[in-house]
């Protein structure tokens, strides 16, 4: 709109927006702050900033529990499942985007529908299968499950990104004398790379936060951070500050990544129904 809004109105809205934004963000802020308090201060009268700052919780969490192990489990499971899924999904999305057939649409919809399967529907067989094959409480087991769980979204996202590559550019490459290999290396891949990166980003986040399979299929050894944090649900003694420290470390990576992936979120989770 070319009309200018009065400064007063603008400040009014700004104040309201910031108030609500901070209110929504507050639990996260509070967690971060509490992580720097002593346990006594954590359950004492609430203080925003005026407390004795300490980093003892961070060191305690890491010394009292195999925090680093669980952190690495999260990394391996999230990255591993996403990378494997990408390896499977890229050719599939490629073929569907560039050589569509009458069945392509149905195929894509079917793939998306598998994501809507409630996990409890297959909890028992998977659990028993894993128990009998020794995959229970292993990172590999979880990587396999999360690969399958996120595969539909990854295929879908890659498909939409690939379709946005203008067909004319590929034709121009062909007219310029590029054979299939040259077309893929010099034109297709560089143009597809941003889409692949975006898909990777969103799905690493989704895998990091996954809290059904990670809770049910792991125990002490392969538990990622989701499951490890869950162990604070029946704690001993004072633990608010330690919980906060563990939580802050657990959510920090994804909070940062998440900031960059808003657009991908819309694309990946609304399946194109919202533009």
């Amino acid at each position: 709109m070319a009309r200018s809004v009065t400064l007063g109105t603008r400040l009014g809205w700004t104040a309201l927006a910031w108030a609500i934004g901070l209110a929504i963000f507050f639990p996260i802020l509070w967690t971060i702050l509490t992580s720097f308090k002593t346990e006594a201060a954590a359950i004492g009268p609430p203080q925003l900033f005026a407390f004795e700052w300490t980093t003892e919780n961070y060191t305690e969490v890491q010394s009292r529990s195999p925090y680093f192990l669980h952190f690495m489990n999260s990394v391996i499971i999230a990255l591993g499942s996403t990378l494997i899924a990408l390896a499977i999904a890229i050719p599939a999305a490629w073929a569907m985007a560039f050589s569509p057939t009458k069945r392509t649409r149905g195929l894509l919809l079917w793939m998306l529908s598998t994501k809507m399967l409630p996990p409890v529907g297959v909890l028992i067989p998977i659990y028993l299968l894993f128990r009998n094959t020794g995959l229970l409480d292993t990172r590999i087991g979880l990587v396999i499950v999360l690969t399958l769980v996120n595969l539909p979204i990854i295929v879908w996202m890659l498909f939409t990104y690939f379709r946005e590559i203008p067909g004319e550019i590929l034709e121009a490459a062909r007219m310029d004398g590029a054979n299939l290999k040259a077309e893929i290396i010099h034109v297709l891949t560089p143009m597809a790379l941003p889409g692949i990166a975006s898909t990777l980003l969103l799905n690493v986040i989704l895998a990091w936060n996954e809290a059904f399979w990670t809770l049910n299929l792991t125990a002490a050894k392969a538990a990622p951070l989701t499951a490890f944090i869950a162990s604070y649900s029946s704690p001993e003694g004072l633990f608010y500050a330690k919980l906060s420290a563990a939580s802050t470390m657990a959510i920090a990576p994804v909070l940062i990544l998440g900031w960059f992936s808003q657009k991908q979120l819309v694309r990946g989770l609304t399946f194109g129904a919202v533009k």
Binding site: P166, E168, I169, E171, A172, A173, R174, M175, D176, G177, A178, N179, A182, H186, V187, P190, M191
Partner: protein, 333 residues
């Protein structure tokens, strides 16, 4: 060097025959324009020649060699796409160099040719920029540059000016025409704009639903359209078509006369009517007249003609410029 022969070339998409078998001969060095309304098959025909689509029947030969089964890269042709199809992740230089790189030329050779093309098209200032940073006209030139360096036996243009604004279109039209004069290479140009066709072509191929209605020089098509379709397509504003009893007076089913071949007079004429909308451009005047017994006709007068809405006016067609068409839409000579 760049002669193209199409024999019995046909194209089917599933069961729909988009182009029934046709023959066409394009001579070396000609500027041929494929023109027609949307969906007439002109782009399809171009893509068949390029090799981007396979023919459903017939043969395509370049300089006598049958290329029907050859992929696009091996036909020695270059294409300029409607959306320019530049590689967005490469600089202008790399864009133009790409075909040469695919051909396996030495880097020094490549640089020489790229610089040559850049000079011809005035690309020097932005040769290191990416397409995203260029304007429409600049991108257009880069696309042409990429085509030129291949030194193809023929250039194929697929509606290259449709995405430009009117002023730029005029300038680029001239540049492409000048390019043709400089390079003297065969050029096949697809457009739906008959003004582009008339101004640029050595010969025009008018297509209608996959069928070639007529092939000829611009003036041939203007003076002697062989069908109602061609008569109505070439020339702006459109030729006036008269049917019914007025047409029968001339012994035809339909009689056509161009707006510029109607003599206007305030003292009456062969046909008479009332002016509806009048358009005064200064250089020309266009009158849209409701003519008794005929219907709506458009007339053009040179310069400034003082007729306005509601005036009575008489029109007399130039008898030498009257076109007669029979019931099937074919011209009667």
């Amino acid at each position: 060097m760049g002669s193209i022969t199409l024999k019995n070339v046909a194209k089917r998409f599933d069961e729909v025959e988009v182009i029934p078998p046709l023959d066409l001969q394009i001579n070396d060095g000609e500027f041929v324009v494929f023109v027609g309304p949307s969906g007439c098959g002109k782009s399809t025909l171009l893509r068949l020649i390029a090799g981007l689509e396979d023919v459903s029947g017939g043969t395509i030969s370049l300089d006598g060699k049958d290329v029907t089964a050859l992929p696009p890269s091996k036909r020695g042709l270059a294409m300029v796409f409607q959306s320019y199809a530049l590689y967005p992740h490469m600089t202008v230089r790399k864009n133009i160099a790409f075909p040469l790189k695919m051909a396996g030329l030495e880097q020094s050779e490549i640089d020489k040719k790229v610089d040559g093309a850049a000079r011809v098209l005035n690309l020097g200032d932005y040769i290191e920029r990416r397409p995203g940073q260029l304007s429409g006209g600049q991108r257009q030139r880069v696309a042409i540059g990429r085509a030129i360096v291949r030194e193809p036996s023929a250039f194929l243009f697929d509606e290259p000016l449709s995405n430009l604004d009117a002023a730029l279109r005029g300038t680029m039209r001239l540049e492409i025409a000048e390019l043709h004069q400089t390079l003297a290479t065969t050029m096949i140009y697809v457009t739906h704009d008959q003004v582009e066709a008339m101004t640029m072509a050595d010969r025009i191929v008018v297509l209608n639903r996959g069928v070639i209605e007529q092939v000829g020089s611009p003036l041939e098509l203007y003076r002697e359209p062989k069908s109602l379709f061609v008569a109505g397509f070439i020339g702006s504003p459109t030729m006036n078509m008269v049917t019914g009893s007025e047409a029968e007076k001339f012994g035809a089913n339909t009689v056509g006369v161009r707006p510029e071949h109607l003599k206007l007079s305030t003292e009456g004429g062969q046909w008479n009517g009332t002016v509806g909308v009048s358009e005064h451009l200064g250089s020309d005047t266009f009158l849209h007249i409701d003519v008794e017994g005929v219907g709506l006709m458009t007339a053009r007068a040179d310069g400034e003609f003082p007729a306005h809405h509601g005036d009575r006016i008489g029109l007399t067609p130039d008898p030498e410029r009257l076109h007669r068409f029979d019931g099937a839409g074919a011209a009667m000579r």
